[in-house]
């Protein structure tokens, strides 16, 4: 049990729980004790000695257990003969801490002087300059002069590539081990370590590829010097020249809060461009971290391939045209088609875009179809996770069940937070048909055969040991994905999960419920607004007017390309001239979400705002504005002048959004640990959240309404027959998708398209690891490099999505 204790720091009296460290207690009282190795999200190690302070504790009479009083009736204080580290000492009742005493200041000054004996002080060419804890603390606490002989300065080779993404400057490193500890404690991937000892100490990584972790960028935020930098931002700009725009990562359903740092620069022809992506604190979503995909893959937004003008097909060629003639034609054709209109949109779009698109489809009597290969969102909409859900609150007594999802590749920050909940004692159950990186941290690993997904979930409703761990848990969350599954399979899976949660009573309260690990950032938002996928999309396109937004079906599926050719009219609204756009009658250039305002709904059903970071490209416009322009010509009244107006309308018509507004989403409350510009020595260079923590939507379950969950067919899953090879889709973090591939320095991580086989299957086919094979199924033909995975069954092959082989669901393939 924790109890409150009272202590005095520099004369200020405060009450804190007894498990608080002196350094944190001081921070809460508004007193900054300098630190380098300490970080509020990691265990203290006391390595750097920067936080030396004087600590006095009341003298206790051993026989009575009472404090010894002096003549004035005050407790007698006992100070250690030497200063102590504030980062390793816990507070205690009656403690007195002096951070500004003669001896404390002297100690702090000495440590800085020591550190600088082996520091190059090349601040003018150091990327950290301007936001460097060492620089700041030296100014504040340093001696100003050094007694050290310059010739004895520490020299080492600079610019060591720990991998393609992170560069190490060994001279600047002060061996605080924050990076090493982050990788080990927080990320659970000990791919950094200290080599040698004493003055020879240096950070190394010998993993393949170097610094093999999707969280590597975070070490550059918490490194207190310029020793770790990203290849992306190094020598890119000085921190003080950068402007910041609050945003949300658009790469996966976690919805990490980020800040885009932008600058106007000559190199980019005087345009304002994004220079880097930084995490923005949201303790309920991403804490102070982001993954490397979120940090690095933003370059697609400034790709030269972007569409900047509307195009119209004339004499079978796509020619540039004006907005008015383009939208006029679109309106005419959609109007003609009326209820034969299909709006096909993806979860890459914002809530505002999707709301307008849905309203347009409704106005025409047409159909709004979600372009996705994963189902079950209507159930997540009804159940969701209870309001106030926060993975950080989960631990002992709780349970988390992850099924058919490779969280590390699909939603890295959820992986990290689920793993940490398990570290805190939550029972983690990981079920998949193959090994994933989360298995290592699980209490129970369930390995099922492909096709047995639903049965696996149903077994969890039984009486076995694992089932008990789930049903008896105080709180339980299920995360389901589409690993090895297509639209049909994942829909059944979601239904089974919803049933399980209802049966075990894990709905309608915080830290309970259902999360879909969607392929796109705003898939959940699309479901909320009434978009649904179509089981047989190709079948319904014939003869229709199709309005495709933010999706590239022709590229993903030859059958859809064929079907689109038979459509009556095709209009494509996108960032790039995709394969689908090539088939279009009209192409409308959309802005990226970095160029405009809007909101996304995360997988945890948190509506969050993003703000425009850079001006729009060319003549491109926000999706919601384009849609409203078309609608206007059809006499359908939609908002188009500003996203805030669209959101107002949305909130007024969609029940779970009732009462929400941009102002509400922009509200912030105090968060711990304190981060931000003045405090970067403490929490790292993560941005403070001043522009909104977002709001978690209230679900039907939260309101106590009964949710109708359909019965589930458990015979649904496809299984390989004898002598068949069933290929199933899996997700790779770095794939060839349009929002990743344009970032050139990720090419190595994206790698080749692979097919993973069981050793037996490989033997039977006469192929081995690293060999190129021909693959064919349905209309698809392609090549892939063989990988061996002993954890799958011999009749199954794993094929990654969005890597050039158009796999959407389990399918029997031929391999040569």
């Amino acid at each position: 049990m924790t109890k409150q204790v009272t202590l005095t720091i520099d004369g200020i009296q405060i009450d804190v729980p007894d498990e608080t460290l002196v350094v944190d207690a001081a921070k809460k009282a508004g007193i900054d004790i300098p630190v380098f190795c300490y970080h509020p999200k990691m265990e203290p190690v006391g390595m750097c000695r920067m936080c030396l302070v004087e600590i006095g504790r009341p003298m206790i009479n051993r026989s009575t257990g009472q404090p010894v009083l002096n003549e004035d009736g005050q407790p007698t204080m006992q100070f250690m003969p030497k200063p102590e580290t504030a980062c390793t000492n816990l507070v205690s009742e009656g403690m007195v801490v002096l951070t500004q005493s003669e001896s404390a200041k002297e100690a702090q000054k000495d440590i800085i002087e020591f550190l600088l004996t082996s520091h190059p002080l090349d601040c003018p060419i150091c990327d950290k300059g301007g936001e460097c804890p060492l620089q700041n603390l030296t100014m504040e606490h340093g001696p100003g002069k050094s007694r050290f002989l310059f010739d004895g300065k520490f020299k080492m080779e600079k610019q060591i590539r720990l991998g393609e993404l992170i560069v190490l400057d060994r001279e600047r490193c002060i061996i605080c081990a924050r990076c090493v500890r982050f990788q080990e404690e927080v990320a659970g991937q000990a791919v950094l370590a200290i080599d040698d000892r004493g003055r020879g100490s240096e950070i190394i990584s010998v993993s393949e590829p170097g610094f093999d972790s999707v969280f590597s960028g975070n070490t550059t935020d918490i490194c207190p010097v310029g020793a770790l930098t990203t290849t992306d931002f190094r020598f890119g700009a000085r921190p003080w020249e950068l402007l910041s725009a609050a945003s949300i990562c658009g790469q996966c359903p976690v919805g990490c809060n980020i800040t885009f740092n932008t600058r106007r620069e000559a190199k980019s022809a005087g345009k304002v461009v994004i220079k880097r992506v930084m995490p923005r604190q949201n303790e309920q979503v991403n804490e102070t971290w982001i993954c490397d995909k979120g940090r690095f893959a933003y370059h697609y937004a400034k790709s030269k391939e972007r569409l900047s003008k509307p195009l119209l097909r004339k004499d079978d060629k796509l020619k540039t045209t004006s907005w008015s003639s383009a939208t006029k034609l679109v309106a005419e054709k959609l109007g003609e088609a009326g209820k034969d209109t299909i709006v096909l949109a993806s979860g890459r779009l914002s809530n505002e875009d999707l709301f307008n698109l849905k309203s347009l489809a409704d106005g025409l009597g047409g159909k709004a179809v979600l372009y996705t290969e994963m189902g079950g969102g209507d159930l997540v909409t009804q159940i969701g996770v209870g309001q106030g859900t926060n993975f950080s609150d989960m631990g002992q007594g709780d349970a988390i069940f992850v099924i058919a999802s490779d969280l590390y590749e699909e939603a890295p920050i959820w992986w990290l937070r689920v793993k940490q909940a398990a570290d805190r004692g939550a029972k983690l159950i990981v079920a998949n048909s193959r090994e994933t990186k989360l298995d290592k941290f699980a209490n129970f690993v369930v390995r099922y055969s492909n096709g047995d997904e639903v049965k696996t979930v149903q077994d969890l409703g039984g009486t076995g040991k694992i089932a008990q761990a789930f049903s008896k848990a105080d709180n339980a969350i299920v995360l389901f994905g589409s690993d090895g599954l297509g639209l049909e399979g994942s829909t059944h899976l979601a239904t089974a999960c919803a049933n399980l949660l209802e049966e075990t009573g894990h709905i309608g309260k915080a830290n309970n419920g259902l999360i879909g690990v969607w392929p796109k950032a705003n898939d959940q938002g699309a479901w909320e607004l009434g978009f649904h996928p179509e089981p047989d999309l190709a079948a319904i396109l014939k003869g229709k007017a199709v309005y495709i937004v933010g999706a590239d079906p022709a590229n993903d599926n030859p059958a859809l390309a064929k079907a689109l050719k038979k459509a009556k009219f095709v209009v494509v609204q996108d960032l790039f001239r995709t394969a689908t756009a090539e088939l279009a009658d009209v192409i409308l250039p959309a802005q990226t979400y970095t160029e405009r305002d809007g909101t996304f709904t995360s997988g945890e059903r948190r509506a969050q705002r993003f703000y425009a970071a850079v001006p729009g490209l060319g003549e491109s416009k926000p999706d919601y504005a384009i849609t409203s322009e078309i609608a206007e010509k059809l006499n359908i009244q939609l908002e188009g002048t500003s996203s805030v107006l669209v959101f107002e309308k949305l909130a007024a018509s969609v029940k779970d959004f009732a009462g929400l507004s941009y102002a509400k989403l922009a509200e912030v409350t105090e968060q711990w640990p304190i981060v931000g510009r003045g405090d970067l020595y403490y929490g790292g260079s993560t941005y403070e959240n001043t522009q909104g923590l977002g709001v978690q939507l209230v679900s039907a379950s939260d309101r106590g309404e009964t949710v109708s969950i359909p019965k589930v067919r458990n015979d649904a899953g496809l299984r390989p027959k004898k002598d068949e090879l069933l290929a199933v889709p899996i997700t790779k973090l770095y794939d060839r998708g349009t929002t990743v591939a344009p970032t050139e320095f990720l090419t190595e991580r994206i790698g080749d398209v692979t097919i993973a086989l069981h050793p037996e299957a490989a033997k039977k086919l006469g192929v081995e690891a690293g060999k190129r094979v021909k693959i064919s199924f349905e209309d698809v033909e392609g090549e892939a490099v063989v990988k061996i995975d002993e954890t799958i069954s011999a009749g199954v092959a794993l094929v990654p999505r969005s890597m050039g082989l158009a796999i959407r669901e389990p399918v029997v393939i031929k391999v040569q």
């Binding site: 000990a190 370590a193 080599d195 190394i204 010998v206 993993s207």
Partner: protein, 167 residues
Amino acid sequence: MLAEKYPEEVKQILGRYPPEQKRSAVMPLLFMAQREEGFVNKEAKHEIASMLDISETEVASIIGFYTLYHAKKEGKYRFQVCNDLPCALRGADKFLEGLCDKLGVQVGETTNDGFVTIETVMCLAACDKVPMFQTQSPNGIKYYENMTIDKTMELIEVLKMADKEVK
């Protein structure tokens, strides 16, 4: 492969630690691995890491931290001279310099015949018998205390002779 070559010994080492703390076996396993060639090669690093469920980087870091372990092939005999503070105060540095001069190498280097490598190490707990060093070789670890340069050169000759005889 260690586990294939010395299955019994590996089993015996792993058996000393509870399974959830098997990472502790890294020290004896590394020592065993380097018995072969006087250093821990890449394959052994990889094998030990996967045997103990730790990362290769962690294994590399342990090799780097301890002067007992080596990541590179050097001379057959490593002369590890202590020049930590107490030894330094009693002339270890001078001894070291003289020895290096005699052998025509610098600290960290190996003699041309590939027989002797000179290294420095931290306190070997023989501070009262300076100059002192230990040798690390296929014949194990041996201490030599109260040494002089001449005595050391003699020792090298003796070791070389013994080496020839064995061959």
